[in-house]
């Protein structure tokens, strides 16, 4: 090897070494970080699983955890030992439960997850069926401080788009007991309070059926394997596997109010109506903007003008003229009124 080659090679070697050793950004610390991130994902996913089990009064087991992590029993056992060592769980003879620290940590992970879902729903155009998986991916990547900043930008929201409460920054989460759709009787009026977002296939099926949080409906028929509900004159057949994942609030209002509701788009030009509600699917900035225009429940509204393409339509509200697209107007429920009320 001649001198020139060596002179050329030396700097190269130096560069490689430096590349490896740069703190924070070097390849060495990069590989360590990757390992740590992987570790973080396993720890956080395990904590979430144990928390969920305890929250639902189920007993987490080695097999349920290994199934949740899709890891071998042996690997899962190692994870549990690790969790015990850092003080996040009590672990004795195959039974384990969260320590106070573990519980707070789990709540933090859940907080980040639900905040992300809220963010995806309110401030992005990501598809509803992808909120959960997007949030699953990102929840391990962002720091707790970043999540808190996100929360304050969104006005510290209380619920995620599925209707689940978001734990507060102080680690508090209220107990909310929901009625299941399956508990309702024929002709009960109710509003969808929460749709469980796992497993994804079930969730997607519910969404594609056209159901959403906040929807008001009546139970039309109950049979062994399915429930038929009616909302705004449209009937939905909810099979057993789906109805188990839907929680509701029973409505005590009289039948007649709910029965005469139609979406805003059903009105003909110059037909008067009173706004009953704005669907929960009108979210974020969009919802606020519409309400700022004075489109709130109890308001008289009248379609006055179709555009050339019939969509948008202009509505007269509080002596102003506001244009709404069909897909927005569809999410506003109104009750027809006869004359000027």
């Amino acid at each position: 090897m001649n001198l020139i080659t060596i002179i050329l090679l030396l700097p190269l070697l130096a560069i490689i070494i430096v590349l490896f050793l740069i703190p924070e950004r070097g390849l060495f610390s990069f590989s360590r970080k990757a390992k740590r991130d992987h570790e973080r994902i396993i720890v956080e996913d395990s904590l979430k699983h144990i928390f969920d089990c305890e929250h639902n009064n189920e007993i987490p087991s080695l097999s349920s955890l290994s199934k949740h992590l899709s890891a071998s029993m042996e690997k899962t056992r190692q994870v549990l030992h690790k969790l015990k060592e850092i003080g996040l769980i009590h672990y004795k003879e195959n039974s384990f439960n969260l320590t106070p620290e573990g519980k707070i940590y789990a709540l933090r992970v859940i907080r980040i997850h639900r905040l992300l879902e809220k963010y995806l729903a309110d401030s992005t155009g990501v598809n509803e069926a992808d909120w959960h998986s997007h949030a699953e991916d990102r929840e391990h990547l962002i720091s707790y401080e970043e999540a808190n900043r996100l929360a304050s930008r969104m006005g510290n929201p209380l619920f995620d788009p599925h209707g689940d409460p978001i734990p507060t920054a102080e680690g508090k989460m209220p107990e909310i007991v929901n009625l299941l759709l399956t508990n309702l009787k024929v002709n009960d009026f109710a509003q969808i309070a929460h749709i469980e977002d796992e497993p994804k296939s079930v969730y997607s099926a519910i969404i594609s059926l056209g159901l959403s949080v906040g929807m008001v409906f009546r139970i039309d028929k109950v049979s062994l394997d399915s429930i038929k509900i009616e909302s705004n004159g449209i009937f939905y057949d909810v099979v057993k596997s789906l109805s188990d994942n839907i929680s509701v609030n029973l409505l005590t209002e009289t039948e007649s109010i709910v029965k005469n509701l139609v979406p805003l788009t059903a009105l003909k030009l110059n037909e008067n109506a009173l706004i009953y509600s704005l669907s929960k699917t009108l979210r974020g900035e969009q919802r606020r903007r519409i309400m700022d225009f004075g489109i709130v429940p109890g308001t008289k509204i009248t379609p006055v003008l179709h555009s050339l393409g019939k969509d948008p339509t202009a509505y007269s509200v509080r002596n102003t003229t506001i244009a709404l697209r069909k897909h927005q107007a569809n999410q506003i429920l109104v009750r027809r009124i006869k004359s000027d009320a």
Partner: protein
């Protein structure tokens, strides 16, 4: 900080906060904030008061930066700040944040709300929100000529009674009502006119219980805070800026200023 109770006539008693908000307060006696919906002729009113020419138009978002101007009246010098035209003060948008923070933390001596006389109901949304933040406000009922053209008659005295603040019917394009507006701005700023602003009432029981409970807690912690109800409303909406101002004590400053003026 002057030590007598007559401080209402002192120059810019709360200049500290205003300087923080980027307002140069040397040589000014009073600060006037100008708020209102887009498309109400707010900029025309601003131009009339200051003699500046700013473009006005039928579109929201015209007032790009925060415009400032000045005028003198009754030997007092007024600084006037044109806030972004918004439909509301409650959302997370930058424009609305600028407007509400200026009225709350800047504590202008007078807030003039310009509204469109042909669309009073919608515009009152903004007015009622402003009245939750500040006691010192004047309503500029603009475009009364348009209202007349549309056969809308407005009982401005009744409106003034309902809202508890001076109401000035005006047609800023024709410079109608500007002297009266100036007069009321002066009276409110100088404390000659004491406003009794209307507060938002609600039919919702849980809403009222929550607000009342929080207001009493806030008043216990910050006695003399002039807008405890607004702070309560913002806390219940999860406004981080208010949460932070409680934590870092910025809210206490508002109490102090108010103490010296009342």
């Amino acid at each position: 900080m002057p030590d007598n109770n007559n401080c209402i006539n002192c120059p810019a008693y709360n200049s500290g906060n205003l300087v923080k908000l980027g307002i140069n307060m040397t040589d000014f006696d009073y600060v006037v904030a100008l708020a209102g919906n887009p498309n109400t002729g707010k900029s025309t009113v601003f131009n009339n008061l200051t003699g500046l020419r700013q473009h006005t138009g039928n579109w929201p978002g015209k007032t790009v930066a925060r415009a400032e101007g000045a005028f003198a009246y009754n030997e007092k010098k007024f600084k006037i700040v044109d806030l972004p035209g918004t439909y509301s003060l409650l959302s997370t948008s930058t424009d609305e944040e600028i407007a509400r923070d200026f009225i709350l933390f800047g504590q202008p001596d007078v807030t003039v709300v310009v509204i469109d006389a042909t669309r009073i109901e919608r515009n009152l949304n903004m007015v009622l929100q402003v009245l939750e933040i500040t006691d010192k406000a004047v309503l500029c009922l603009n475009l009364v000529d348009e209202a007349k053209r549309h056969n809308i008659t407005i009982d401005d005295r009744a409106l003034s009674r309902e809202l508890g603040i001076p109401v000035v019917p005006s047609a800023a394009r024709q410079r109608v009502g500007m002297p009266e507006l100036l007069n009321f701005i002066f009276q409110v700023a100088a404390g000659e006119y004491i406003c009794k602003p209307r507060r938002i009432s609600s039919d919702s029981k849980s809403f009222n219980t929550a607000v009342d409970k929080l207001v009493s807690e806030i008043e216990k912690e910050f006695p003399g805070l002039p807008n405890a109800r607004w702070v309560a409303l913002r806390l219940l909406e999860g406004d981080q800026k208010i949460i932070d101002s409680i934590k870092n004590g910025e809210l206490v400053n508002l109490v102090k200023n108010n103490y010296y003026t009342s």
